[in-house]
């Protein structure tokens, strides 16, 4: 606080601005005090901001970069010495000299053979073959086989290579090599939405039997919407009950909502496996009650049903808590007034109560949907093959197929969608209103 001198009228010339004790104009003193307060607030946040930047924003940014950048066709890195060697340089030079669509001539094949010999020395033929295999499947062995024989090949190289494997004449392969010779590419994004390039470089859909990603994106959206709907159907009555009960009882019942929220995700998923197994508690009960025969046990786990049930259970508290915090302050006298004016209980609910809960419905549904779209653990454990979501495919490409660029492209599409929803949530609900119990 800058201390303001109020005894200045005698000394100060008439018409001049008020000044502080040390003679600064009041306006400037106030501005500098505010700037100081601003800086102080900012410096409190700064350490955390830097921490999040380093451990969170930078890694994700780096991953996004990987979705457009793949240098396994142009550079070899020795994991022992960490030495980087450019590879496929001869072919790269030929691609630079000849425009796209040029029929590969003897010079091109000679460059290719020279590069294959280089690959053999560095043992990098697998890496290059894998890279081209992402675009044109079945070509990995082409590279390993030809690199093995490259040393013994004699000119004319075109015939010699075609002798090793006539697939070398495939124009699509040449198109793929040309694309890969520049490390920056959008092809992984194309692949992530089931598109590819034909031999002329035009964008086309991939073969029908290989279209998986768009289907999976749609499935993820549909399942998330379904789970959000189920959470709403189950969460609304419960939130309403909690909001209308006296605090003493509602606080007790609230524990039934909060306990699942605090319980380990893996524990909850395990319980659902135990409950829903074909030899599990639910099936046993149904058999004992005579609802189904012993041979008619329902398969409820390791498929879509398992994913839906378990995820609804896990995400339900995220619906109940925002609904509850909106419903609690609603004054019951509005509904009473509606009833006394002649509305039936259904009309009073629909026209008077429901509209007041819309902010809670919006907040809860958006939150559940955002969390559901990116879910990984539960589908991985109980989803079988039909209950997998897009996150599981990203994990598959990260851990099993090791096509990291495609994983990154899929991840950035998912991230883009989630960030749009997050922005929407911030606009409509405000992050400040996020509550946990």
């Amino acid at each position: 606080m800058a201390d303001v001198s109020l005894t200045s009228p005698i000394s100060a010339p008439t018409g001049a601005a008020l000044t502080t004790a040390d003679g600064k104009p009041l306006k400037a003193a106030l501005a500098s005090a505010q700037a100081r307060a601003k800086r102080r607030a900012f410096f409190l946040v700064l350490p955390l901001l830097l921490f999040v930047l380093i451990t969170f924003i930078v890694p994700i940014g780096q991953m996004l970069h990987r979705s457009v950048h793949n240098n396994s066709f142009t550079e070899h890195r020795d994991f022992g010495t960490n030495e980087r060697t450019p590879i496929m340089t001869n072919l790269g030079a030929w691609f630079d000299e000849n425009p796209a669509g040029t029929e590969p001539d003897e010079a091109a094949y000679a460059a290719l053979v020279a590069d294959l010999r280089g690959l053999r020395e560095l043992r990098a033929q697998g890496q290059v073959g894998t890279r081209i295999n992402y675009d044109v499947s079945g070509t990995r062995s082409l590279f390993t086989k030809s690199a093995r024989r490259a040393e013994r090949l004699e000119p004319p190289f075109k015939e010699a290579l075609l002798d090793v494997d006539e697939d070398w004449a495939d124009p699509e392969l040449w198109r793929a090599m040309r694309d890969a010779s520049s490390p920056y590419t959008l092809n992984f994004y194309l692949a992530a939405v089931d598109l590819t390039r034909d031999e002329t470089g035009a964008v086309v859909q991939v073969n029908e039997n290989r279209r998986v990603y768009v289907t999976l994106f749609i499935r993820t959206l549909l399942l998330s919407a379904l789970i959000t709907g189920l959470c709403f159907l189950l969460g609304f009555p419960v939130a309403h009950l909690l909001a209308t009960l006296p605090l003493r009882y509602s606080n007790l019942l609230m524990i039934l909502v909060l306990l699942p929220f605090w319980t380990s995700l893996l524990v909850r998923t395990t319980s659902w496996i135990v409950l829903l197994q074909s030899q599990g508690v639910v099936n046993d009960t149904m058999v004992a009650l005579g609802i189904i025969g012993d041979d008619g046990r329902v398969q409820m786990i390791y498929n879509q049903i398992g994913t839906i049930i378990a995820m609804t259970h896990i995400l339900l508290p995220f619906m109940v808590l925002p609904l509850y915090s909106v419903m609690r302050p609603i004054d019951p006298s509005y509904v009473r007034a509606a009833r006394s004016l002649g509305a039936s209980s259904w009309t009073a609910f629909r026209r008077v109560y429901l509209p007041q809960t819309v902010p809670g419905i919006g907040a809860g549904s958006l939150l559940v949907f955002i969390l559901a779209v990116g879910y990984y653990i539960t589908p991985a454990l109980v989803g079988g093959s039909s209950g997998q979501l897009i996150s599981n495919l990203i994990a598959f490409h990260m851990q099993d197929s090791l096509n990291w660029s495609l994983a990154a492209a899929l991840a950035s599409l998912l991230l883009g969608g989630v960030l749009i929803l997050y922005w929407l949530y911030d606009r409509l609900v405000g992050i400040d209103n996020l509550k946990l119990g």
């Binding site: 601003k38 900012f42 350490p47 969170f56 419960v238 605090w262 197994q277 990116g374 994983a407």
Partner: protein
């Protein structure tokens, strides 16, 4: 929610149907968590109630799965249970190792997340904070961004800077994931904070540090502890990041459970699950207690 005296029969029927529906939903919420407790005492390696269990025959129950948790991975599980047996268990049993790792990683990531998060929450709840909304959005985002994306990004980043397969890497990753929870809880506590108290303290001659430790801290402490507990639970329950950036040496309880569920699920998993349910009940009780205390302290709650 009492039914008025003049309610029509239809309304009465609906009212009771509604209560039954709510009871069923509560059952749906809580049953899966409680069901693992009796099943973990099953004498047979099944995931369902055996006839002996249903007739409350003591033979149907046993603690063999809890015993397995102790002995699994030990050098000499069959030896006599004296001091050397217990020290063998402490040093070698796989689940005890995992529990130790979970506690170490959870403890340090909680400290990191709580200190940084509380400081930031103090700054964020000042009215003069610039770019408040955008910064808040960034700091909350680890909770929103799908975990697989976070784990993927961290895998590449930590591998490139040499933090992969180390305790420090996992601790930093878990702290990042716990931060949103600390921020949300502490800013919620600060919403009702009366800033004239800090001004009063300053006018009585206290410097900012004294004011913080003697005036602000005691008042927001319940919120800070709740936030810390949230951060701890996030780390204690986290498996995907551990799968991507941790090595065998940093196996945590969830990681061990993940293996168990994926490879061959045995009732030993249910024994772990039961122990974790007990932990979560304890944590929930603490947080509820703190919340009421904080509300009482700030005069927000009637009782």
């Amino acid at each position: 929610m009492a039914l008025p005296k003049h309610a029509s029969p239809l309304e009465r029927i609906w009212h009771y149907t509604y209560l039954v529906i709510c009871a069923l939903i509560f059952l749906f919420l809580i049953a899966p968590i409680l069901i693992v407790i009796p099943l973990s005492f099953n004498a047979e390696p099944y995931f369902t109630f055996t006839d002996k269990m249903l007739s409350f025959d003591p033979e149907g129950y046993s603690t063999r799965w809890y015993d397995l948790l102790l002995t699994f991975g030990m050098n000499a599980p069959g030896a006599e249970r004296d001091f050397s047996w217990w020290s063998d268990a402490w040093a070698n049993a796989a689940w005890i190792k995992a529990a130790k790792n979970s506690v170490i990683i959870g403890f340090f990531s909680t400290i990191l997340a709580t200190v940084l998060g509380t400081l930031a929450a103090l700054g964020l709840s000042r009215p003069e904070m610039p770019y408040r909304r955008a910064i808040m959005a960034i700091l909350i985002s680890p909770m929103i961004v799908p975990i697989i994306i976070v784990a993927t990004g961290m895998f590449f980043f930590y591998s490139s800077v040499g933090l992969a397969n180390s305790y420090l890497g996992v601790i930093m990753a878990h702290a990042t994931l716990g931060i949103p929870f600390v921020i949300i809880t502490v800013t919620a506590t600060l919403v009702g904070f009366d800033h004239s108290l800090t001004r009063a303290s300053a006018s009585l001659g206290a410097n900012p540090t004294t004011t913080f430790f003697r005036v602000i801290m005691p008042l927001i402490l319940p919120g800070v502890i709740s936030g810390a507990l949230f951060a701890f639970v996030v780390s204690f329950d986290e498996v995907v990041v551990v799968l991507f950036v941790a090595d065998f040496d940093q196996q945590t309880i969830p990681r061990q459970m993940w293996n168990g569920i994926r490879e061959q699920i045995s009732p030993a998993i249910l024994a772990v699950a039961t122990l974790l349910v007990v932990v979560s009940i304890a944590l929930l009780t603490t947080v509820e207690f703190l919340r009421r205390r904080s509300e009482k302290m700030r005069g927000l709650s009637p009782g």
